[in-house]
């Protein structure tokens, strides 16, 4: 392999790794918060209302995450 393609490969692997880590953290937090909020009394299976709550909670968490993300980025840009 030449220098150029090694560089490209390093960049690709680093980006993939960061994306995986990011997704893992998000999934972990969604599970934690939404399980707490939606599965109040764990029964023998997930009820359909629990599933609905969970999906909505998941979407809400991602919306909240995006809001925090854009707020943080604009704040950091203002301060630097």
């Amino acid at each position: 392999m030449d220098s150029e393609s090694i560089k490209t490969e390093v960049i690709r692997q680093v980006r993939t790794q960061y994306a995986i880590d990011n997704a893992k953290q998000l999934i972990e937090k969604i599970n934690e918060h939404c399980f707490e909020r939606c599965v109040l009394k764990p029964g023998p299976s997930l009820s359909s209302s629990e599933q609905t709550c969970f999906t909505q909670c998941m979407e809400k968490y991602m919306a909240a995450w995006n809001q925090v993300s854009s707020t943080s980025i604009s704040r950091l840009q203002r301060e630097n």
Binding site: M1, D2, S3, E4, I6, K7, E9, V10, I11, Q13, V14, R15, T16, Y18, D21, N22, Q25, L26, K29, H33, R37, C38, C53, T55, Q56, C57, M58, E59, K60, Y61, A63, A64, W65, Q67, V68, S69, T71, S72, I73, R75, L76, E79
Partner: protein
């Protein structure tokens, strides 16, 4: 995902120009990762504080949205305040 495996021998084949570019790339990615870590922890804390009612739909309502923005902004205020106060302690 087919990861082409790279080893140290491959990395030694990098020329100076590509090495410099990679260093810059890694610095940028590191900074992005630090910001992202803050966002993860803020989303965690602020979700707990702001989304307190029954979850009836997947969107943030206006109140929740404002609360998330304020929560993040106030957290940054607090971390600035901490630094200022620590400086004051050190100087007195």
């Amino acid at each position: 995902m087919d990861n082409l495996s790279l080893d140290t021998a491959d990395l030694e084949k990098l020329n100076e120009k590509d090495k410099t570019e990679l260093r810059q790339f890694l610095q940028n990615e590191n900074q992005k990762a630090r910001i992202q870590a803050t966002v993860h922890s803020l989303a965690d804390v602020c979700f707990k504080k702001c989304i307190t009612g029954m979850i009836k739909n997947g969107k943030l309502d206006k109140t929740e949205e404002n609360c998330m923005v304020n929560c993040a902004e106030r957290f940054f205020d607090i971390s600035t305040l901490t630094m200022k106060h620590l400086q004051n302690i050190r100087q007195s």
